[in-house]
Amino acid sequence: MQAGQPGERRSEVARDGARPLMSVRGLGIRFKTSQGIWQATRKIDFDIAPGERVGIVGESGCGKTITGLSILRLLPGNFAGLDGKIIFDGTDLASCGARQMRSIRGKRIAMIFQEPMSALDPVFTVGHQIAETLRVHTSISYEEARAKTLEMLRRVGIASPERRIDDYPHQLSGGMRQRVMIAAALICGPQLLIADEPTTALDVTVQAQILELLRDISETSQTALMLITHDLGVVAETCTRMITMYAGEVIEDASVDEALVRPLHPYTSGLLRSLPHLSPRHGRLPSIPGRVPSIAEMPNGCRFRARCAHATKGCEAEQALQDAGGGRKVRCWRFAELNLPGALHPPETSVAARVAAQ
């Protein structure tokens, strides 16, 4: 493995040394529906170190977005209960009062979403909306807030911010709106930025700009990044660690490089193998048979076992997220005996090999 990678090293140090910025333990979220109480996620455990960039990966419905929202306690109306702890810098966000939550939300933990147009208010200028965050959380004069907003707009790469600060959201392009959202999220200097599919609605060339900005901001201001996405490429380009979720559970937690090269969970491996980037051109794409179990009828034991090629009788037992050594965790009791292919298989025909050969 490439231990010499700077990103890799930083993540190792953060993991072993410093106290985590946020520690999520046993997090579960329940919802009321017409068919009773549904458990959307359960037993979610993970840590984020100060300044660390962590990707939360999974397919639609796996619980990645609701996990991000629950950290900020931005839960929908049919929310029925939350289990576990979310320790953020010494405070349990799962149980703290609404007042304390308000002082953290937007100031110490900020969030950006997929669609900036629905997150921005169309009747206020972008400058007003960015400065609002600042004025809510600090006692700052109008002039100071405006000056800081200008500086932040420049920082997120908005050209001629003096002109743009008084624009309304509809006057900006999609990429610029997402930059404005990032500016509003960062204006109070948060310790953690949660980004939920921040580039999914953007074109690939603009996506590259925004990912570069997020990486750059996280590095220069030591803001930890929790990047929620379905796109393994986005995680590989942006993050140092990757947490894979399936059917409401964390099933693997490893450095990005380790997870891509040698995934320990059959689902992570299956996801990687199904990417067209990694298959020979015009060849058959491997896919994962079946579908994600419905939230209303979750199987006991391993939730992936109905789709897993390696399932045996032992998989009917409840699976714990266990330590796999080297700071990795996996929710599969067979992980040590399975030798699963990752992004580099089959090496001779993959893009990876072609890139490596150059």
Partner: protein
């Protein structure tokens, strides 16, 4: 139905000549040149990919190819004939051969119709065979896309996204088309089932001798499935060639940037060190830049690019590009070539 040979022939099933599609803006004060002078052939039995970012005009081309939109200028020939020259009746039976599938199967299926009824509808509209024959054909189509018999009696909400997309594919197949335009057909599907649906497209092509025009913004998908690929920017093609050549030795700076911007799921040691990050965003198609349309974002732009639109030329065999300075010897691991007009 007979199986076609595996190798696509060079004979065109669709010829597009100087295609233009213009729309009026809602206030009728401006014209959007969604497609502005595009030339290409789709060869029988091949998969022809079109990639481009949002607003590039790729969907407009797709719709024009099956005459859901009328070209503002230029011609689209199906098998050498101009469908617009046909009588209304001839045109109706002619267009059965040219089908289109869209991104969102939820929008394509009527939630109040059973799956079988949805698949039967095109056959009923076309008035083919007896009721029993139509039903047999519809059930065959469902079987061909890998859906079990009992799905015919179900409603769309009882199916997953991947299954619904299979239904839409089955419906397009009932009229035994020669060509299917596939517009972002896997974009709405989760990663783990995308592969399944792409494999199905490949199987159907092999078994039925279909020709596809595959429209997508996803480079990995298009380069996996297509024999040839066209890259679109602001209503025009900037590059067209064999997929291997375009994705490994791109000639146009926009293609190079697009490939370099794509996030790759590779470990850090294997990712490209230098990436070309384009500045700014795509200009408005109402008022595109003069000369080369890409020049406002092009890292190699010269004064000439503003003055003169680059010619669409075959720089290498079967590999076309519209750039004054495209270099046939470019390879991505070299420094960009010196540019002197």
């Amino acid at each position: 139905m007979t199986a076609a040979s595996a190798e696509p022939s060079r004979e065109p099933i669709v010829s597009v000549r100087d295609l233009q599609v213009r729309f009026q803006t809602s206030d009728r004060r401006a014209t959007v040149k969604a497609v502005d002078g595009v030339n290409f052939d789709v060869r029988r039995g091949e998969t022809f990919g079109i990639i481009g970012e949002s607003g590039s005009g790729k969907t407009t081309i797709g719709r024009a190819l099956v005459f859901l939109l009328k070209p503002s200028a230029g011609a689209i020939l199906h098998d050498g004939t101009d469908p617009l020259a046909l009588s209304r009746k001839q045109f109706q039976s002619h267009r059965r051969d040219y089908q289109i599938i869209f991104q969102d199967p939820n929008a394509a299926l009527n939630p109040r119709m059973t799956i079988l009824a949805s698949v039967l509808e095109p056959l009923e509209l076309a008035g083919i065979g007896t009721k029993a024959e139509r039903e047999r054909q519809a059930r065959e189509a469902l079987e061909r896309v890998g859906l079990p018999q009992e799905f015919g009696e179900r409603y769309p909400h009882q199916l997953s996204g991947g299954q619904k997309q299979r239904v839409v594919i089955a419906r397009a197949l009932t009229l035994r088309p020669k060509l299917i335009v596939c517009d972002e057909v896997v974009a709405a599907l989760d990663m783990s089932i995308r592969g399944d649906v792409l494999n199905l497209f490949a199987d159907l092509q092999r078994d039925l001798g279909l020709t596809y025009v595959f429209i997508t913004h996803d480079l990995a998908v298009v380069s996996h499935i297509s024999e040839r690929v066209a890259v679109m920017y602001l209503g025009q093609f900037v590059e067209l060639g064999p997929t291997e050549a375009v994705s490994e030795r791109p000639l146009h700076p926009y293609t190079q940037a697009l490939l370099s911007a794509e996030p790759r799921p590779l470990p850090s040691s294997m990712r490209l060190e230098e990436r070309i990050v384009l500045q700014g965003e795509v200009p408005s198609p109402i008022d595109p830049p003069t000369g080369c349309r890409f020049r406002t974002r092009c890292p190699h732009a010269q004064p000439l690019c503003a003055e003169q639109a680059p010619e669409w030329r075959e720089l290498k065999p079967d590999h076309w590009v519209a750039c004054h300075f495209a270099d046939p010897n470019f390879s991505p691991d070299q420094e960009p070539p010196e540019e002197t007009p």
